[in-house]
Amino acid sequence: MRHVTACFRKRKHGEFKCLSRSFKQVLAGFYETGRREFTVLDSDMRFQVIVAAVFWSGFVESRKVRGISSSYKRFYKERKSFLCIDGSKIIPFEQVNDDYCDCEDGSDEPGTSACPRGRFYCTNLGFRPHYIPSSRVNDGICDCCDASDEYNSPAHCQNTCWNLGQKERAYVEGQMRTLDEGLRLKQQLIEEGVLLWREKQAQLRELQQVAEDLQIKLEEHRRRKHEAERLKEQTLKALEAGDSGKGRILMRSCCNPYSITVDEVKTKVVLVHDEERLLSEDEALGLLGGGHQIDLTKFRRTLWDVLTRGDSVKVRSISLHFQHPPRCFFAAEWEATNLKKVEEAYETVNMEISDLRKKLAIDYGTDWEFLFLNSQCYKLKVYEYIYTLCPFNQVTQKNTAGTEVSLGTWGMWAGTPKNQYSQMVYENGEPCWQGGSRTTTVTLTCGTETALRSVKEPSKCQYIMDFQTPVACQPVLKQRGIHSEL
């Protein structure tokens, strides 16, 4: 590591003080400060106006060297020589801002365009100060609102800082109002979100209860079906063995609880002369002797003969004989059908549960503040297209002809590590012409209402949306604003 010795005259004591500092340290210091300044510049600086103004009034009278900020004044104290801030070279002080670049780091020319990597400080009284690259000094384009960068150029720059400052202040105020309102709404939405979350949780629990019940039912039905099947098998065996007495007993025991209903008569029995027509309720009731259901034995005794004689009515389906094979065969089928029904119900409930779970598994923000967006859709017309964003679900584009194209389904949060909830990605939309599929990136910004603000397609099949919602309002932003106003 190279060490340089830097000498400064300390004004107070009129003596030289030599500092031995590591080159790297000096550099680091310089760039650190620089970076901070630039970071400030990059970030939302609207709240720093007043701070700057305060600072400005403090040092304005002593400023002599063009293009530096007050924090750098200490490097440019009028003396015989000037030490490049990176410590690499000492030059006569007249060579500071003499329009020739002597220092590698450009520190000798803060006020001219001479150094390729230099920077110029726009004081911008009334607005916010910022750095511009040296190459923008005297290039004929007004960059600093105080016109300080074009001190030797044909460009007639006006000092617009006050206006800009006004606008900025108005804008900031507007933003603040939006933020306040946004945060208030956000709080509501958070509360709603929490309620919704609880509701959904309750719903889930309910569904789980239903599922459990169904589970029990299912087992019962499985058992019954199994039993019925067993009986059926036994009966079959008995019948095959010719032991009709035993069969009858079995039949009775397995069939007695059963009866014939009106509906069954309606579906199984038809008129001989008009097979297409279903029996009416009255006709079926007639067959059953006026009652809505009839005991099977009774049915056999009274009606069966009529039916089998087949003068005017007949049994439609051979597979569903009323007499042979014995009724317990139907029982097995009956049980199977019932089991299926329960199984289906169970499946449906389970699907609902997993859907709900999936939905609940989505990250809706730390306070479930984004939950309310679920099941909502937002539309925006851009030129000839209507775009629809259904958060956590999908994005679509519809043209005037009504053709709808998927621009992606919910993928993930994709914001910055600091605030991952600032961006959403929807992926695997309709495939594209040259391979790949459509994707949409949604940027969430703070606003008082929830709406889709803009849609763009910067590259083919890659869409970006600006989605405004109170829940994107960040208290951090506000704090920073207040903080810088202090």
């Binding site: 690259p133 030129y383 763009k456």
Partner: protein
């Protein structure tokens, strides 16, 4: 925002067809091979041998500057007329046409800048076997041999070039179609008429009688002719589903040229091939036929977007050129007697001294027109460039800003998009001068209009750019949407300016707008009208910082044969067949004229074209069309632009990043580094590719790209000066090593691959960009035994005549400044070139072994034609005997500049004791300086004199001081 499919319904079908056929390569089946082009097949079937042509020496007429002579084809007795001119500047022009064509044959107009001035020819000797003519004062002679006809150009005892030495001259004379009814009627009527004439003419027209007598073959001609067989493709031809009616029948021409002593030939762009042309015996000839080739393939002789029928032949002694002035479809065959030999075989020949003389034979075949060939006899490359420039003109002198960086994309979607890209450059501190708008900016592909939603207030947008001293290019293609609500279409149609189909109606084809017609740019009145459309009051939304791009001007016709126009369409008296390769030339000509006119003749135009022809250099820039984001495409951009430079078109570039597909970050960075050192520097991308503005690949890559672009901007004064030089002399800007060091046998003999991948801007910078993926080093050949080269980044000195291995990183762009040169730079890189106008210069003086150096400094306003009125500064900078001085090269020119000299960097210097500046007023002042002993670099601090002034800087050395003292 629309999906591609919805917006592109008209072209979709075609694209789909193409895409399905093959994914990432040209669909060769869409384009003809020689075998599929009837005339090429017919001509190529002829083998070298005895030529049927005989010179009728008795018909020779020689005036002071023109020789004419009839040739006869002994097989069919058709006579040709040969004209031979000696042109000023060591050029011989040979013209051959039918003596009595059935109807006129097309002769290319407007390409030559004037009727070339001639020089006297004199007859040296003549006998029954031939004629010997003297070509001016030099020891050059033309020998015309009679039987068979052959033409040799000699210098001393050397044959420079022979024509028809292989007997491949053919001239398909125009004829009546014999199998048609009309022919029979016509010929019967004609013979009756002849008889009547004969009866009455003996007294009335003795001249005619004489002519008949002088033409005894007339009778035989008719009989012979009837025996000629009609081959397929003579009277009509079908390619794929397209049929070409050929009402004029066969009309091809062909001639062979032998080049003794020549191993390598160059030129005849545009082909995606090596700089040195390959022999074509085992494949197709090189084809010249302007075509819109979708996803072109590399390293083959297929035709591309432009055609310059100029070939250069080069060996250590002499450089010559052949300019075949014909605008029809043309094929060029090349063979060489050393082609088959290995490098080892050649070395063996060289060592044993037993080598037969190398020779290259070339044969040109064109579908119609006449033979009109200019033999440019050198002898140096510089001479050939100046000879060719004297015929077709030099590179237009572009506005300085157009040498900056251009940011293009199909498409910047709307004004907001343009604004945000513009802001992106400022945010990332990358300079650029032009942002481009492709076809989507228009209202439904109606050129000269704006999309009413996306570009609702174009002037606002242009003003925004102007405020930053930047400019815009908007595309204007020559296919005009057939739409009765479109003003441009209505006017062209009502004026009858459209190209006609063979039945006389307006030709309609399919292009971006759907059904489109094509203005007939061959008509001067059409071109004048077109030019008037660029007036600010005609072209709504245009402003003076808006320039033009002509694409698709081959012309591209999606549903036409080979994606271009049917050959039997009609341009007045001519068929499209005769004129095809000129279409793009005229489109750019008319557009450039429009841009000049709109400014009242004051401002220089900037027009980019895809199609071009000989002479296109006069109208603007060209680019290598729709390339792809592949390493091989990056590599091929170098020989493609080098080839164009050799034939006059210096303002050449390739789409940085590659048009189709998406480049890897490494490829993109390397492409910026390469493009920064090519004359036309524009990034462009296909609609379907992801965004690739320079800052989208992370800060490291942004920095690499920024650095490459900044290097370009620091060298802008040098680029500008190179363009001025090219404009004055016709010499190329990007030059292959062959030309720089023509006596460098090493380079020539072995033709190391370096030659193809190396490029040099002007003669002072040698550039060897990294074009290999994952490269860790490159080997560059530094030519010149007594030459030294300085790395422009490190100032490290290297000796010439060596293969230098250079280790590289991602930031490396190997560039060397030649010892002996002085290069001016502006090192204060700003937002755009215009922002740098008044900036001071830094002079980089690179000393050679003799400790001398020379260079120039050219300054003008950068954008008007006032330089033609002598409003410029042109100075010679020279360093010798430790004195650097600036003297006026143009004392009669007037211009003042605010620019001054801020720094002088002398490479290869020794440490002086004192440095004194003497200005024109005789004032002396001492200059501060800094000497870096490790690299021998002397930097003079802030001399401060005006760049336009006379001055002298003296370096006093300790040794000199002692001398003075003693």
């Amino acid at each position: 925002m629309a999906s591609f499919t919805e917006r592109m319904v008209p072209v979709l079908v075609l694209w789909l067809a193409v895409c399905l056929a093959e994914t990432w390569a040209v669909d060769r089946g869409n384009f003809k091979t020689c075998d599929q082009s009837a005339f090429c097949k017919r001509q190529r079937a002829l083998k070298p041998g005895e030529s049927p042509y005989r010179a009728l020496l008795e018909t020779m007429e020689l005036t002071n500057t023109r020789l004419t002579l009839q040739l006869i084809n002994d097989n069919n007795k058709v006579r040709l007329l040969l004209e031979l001119y000696r042109l000023q500047g060591n050029i011989t022009r040979v013209k051959i046409n039918e003596l009595k064509p059935l109807k006129p044959r097309y002769e290319v107009p407007d390409v030559l800048i004037r009727e070339p001035p001639t020089e006297p020819l004199s007859l040296l000797s003549q006998d029954e076997n031939g004629v010997v003519l003297s070509l001016g004062s030099e020891s050059q002679r033309v020998i015309i041999s009679a039987r068979p006809f052959r033409l040799d150009i000699m210098e001393g005892s050397d044959v420079l070039m022979s024509l028809n030495s292989r007997g491949l001259l053919t001239f398909e004379h125009l004829r009546m179609r014999k199998d048609t009814f009309s022919y029979k009627v016509t010929s019967t009527v004609a013979s009756v008429w002849d008889n009547i004439k004969r009866v009455f003419s003996s007294q009335a027209d003795p001249e005619a009688e004489k002519k008949e007598e002088a033409d005894p073959a007339n009778q035989a001609e008719t009989t012979k002719e009837e025996e000629e067989k009609v081959e397929d493709g003579m009277w009509e031809e079908t390619f794929k589903s397209h049929s070409d009616s050929k009402p004029n029948g066969p009309s091809a021409i062909s001639l062979d040229f032998s080049l003794p002593g020549v191993e390598h030939v160059y030129g005849i762009p545009e082909h995606a091939d090596t700089l040195r042309l390959k022999t074509t015996e085992n494949g197709d000839p090189y084809r010249l036929y302007n075509l819109d080739v979708f996803q072109y393939e590399l390293y083959n002789p297929m035709a591309l977007y432009g055609a310059v029928p100029v070939m250069l032949a080069h060996n250590t002694q002499r450089t010559t050129g052949i300019f075949w002035l014909n605008a029809a479809e043309t094929w060029v065959d090349i063979s060489s007697n050393t082609a088959g030999k290995t490098v080892f075989g050649k070395m063996l020949d060289y060592v044993q001294g037993s080598s037969e003389t190398p020779q290259t034979d070339v044969r040109w075949i064109s579908e119609s027109g006449i033979i009109d060939v200019f033999l440019m006899l050198g002898p140096t490359p510089k001479d050939v460039f100046s000879q060719y420039a004297s015929l077709t003109g030099t590179q237009s002198f572009p506005p300085l800003a157009s040498l900056g960086y251009h940011q293009c994309r199909w498409n910047y979607n709307d004004q907001e998009d343009v604004q945000s890209v513009d802001a992106g450059f400022d945010e990332h501190d990358i300079p650029y001068d032009f942002i481009w708008l492709d076809i989507e900016h228009t209202d439904g592909k109606r050129y000269f209009t704006w999309d009413p939603h996306k570009f609702a207030t174009p002037k606002e947008m242009l003003q925004g750019l102007m405020d930053k001293k930047r400019k815009l290019v908007a595309i204007v293609d020559p296919h005009i949407k057939v739409d009765s609500n479109y003003k441009i279409h209505n006017e062209i149609r009502s004026k009858g300016f459209y190209i006609k189909n063979k039945d006389g109606g307006d030709y309609e084809g399919w292009c971006w707008p759907g059904s489109a017609s094509y203005p007939d740019f061959f008509r001067a009145d059409m071109r004048a009208w077109w030019a008037s459309m660029f007036a600010y009051d005609q072209y709504e939304g245009s402003m003076e910082n808006m320039y033009t791009w002509n694409d698709m001007n081959e012309p591209s016709v999606f549903n036409g044969p080979e994606v271009t126009m049917h050959k039997d369409t009609v341009h007045g008296a001519w068929e499209h067949r005769d004129v095809h390769n000129l279409y793009g030339f005229y489109v750019q000509m008319a557009t450039a004229e429009g841009l000049i006119q709109r400014s009242g003749g004051i401002e220089r135009p900037f027009v980019l074209t895809r199609a071009f022809f000989a002479g296109s250099q006069r109208y603007g820039a060209v680019w290598t069309g729709d390339n792809a984001a592949e390493w091989d495409h990056l590599k091929i951009s170098i020989p493609m632009c080098l080839s164009l430079g050799l034939v006059g078109i210096s303002f050449c570039g390739a789409d940085v990043g590659g048009f189709f597909k998406s480049p890897s970050t490494e490829l993109l960075v390397r492409w910026y580094q390469t493009g920064a050192y090519q004359p036309f520097f524009r990034a462009h991308a296909h609609l379907d590719t992801p965004r690739r503005e320079p800052w989208l690949f992370g800060p490291e890559n942004t920095a690499l790209i920024r650095e490459a672009v900044r290097q370009r901007y620091t060298l802008l004064p040098y680029w500008y000066q190179q363009f001025y030089h090219a404009h004055r002399t016709g010499e190329p800007i990007m030059r292959p090593l062959i030309q720089l060091f023509r006596k460098g046998r090493h380079v020539l003999k072995l033709s190391v691959p370096l030659m193809f991948f190396n490029s040099a801007a002007g003669r002072d910078l040698l550039v060897h960009p990294v074009t290999e993926e994952g490269a860790r080093g490159v080997t560059a050949y530094l030519p010149g035994k007594d030459t030294v080269w300085f790395d422009i980044h490190t100032f490290q000195k290297h000796n010439g005549a060596q293969n230098l291995y250079i280790p590289v990183t991602m930031s490396s762009i190997p560039v060397f400044q030649r010892g002996g040169s002085i290069i001016p730079r502006k090192v204060r890189v700003r937002r755009s070139s215009t922002c740098m106008e008044h900036d001071p210069y830094t002079l980089y003086v690179a000393l050679n072994l003799q400790r001398t150096a020379e260079g120039e400094l050219y300054i003008d306003d950068g954008h008007t034609f006032n330089y033609e009125k002598k409003e410029f500064i042109h100075r010679r900078l020279s360093f010798a005997k430790n004195i650097l001085s600036s003297v006026n090269l143009a004392p009669d020119a007037q211009f003042t500049t605010r620019s001054w000299i801020e720094r002088v960097v002398i490479l290869g210097a020794s440490k002086p004791s004192k440095v004194t500046l003497q200005t024109a007023d005789g004032q002396d002042s001492q200059l501060e300086f800094d000497f870096d002993a490790s690299m021998s670099v002397l930097t003079l601090r802030k001399p401060g004199m005006n760049a336009g002034a006379d001055w002298t800087v003296m370096l006093q050395r300790l040794l000199n001081l002692y001398k003075h003292l003693s």
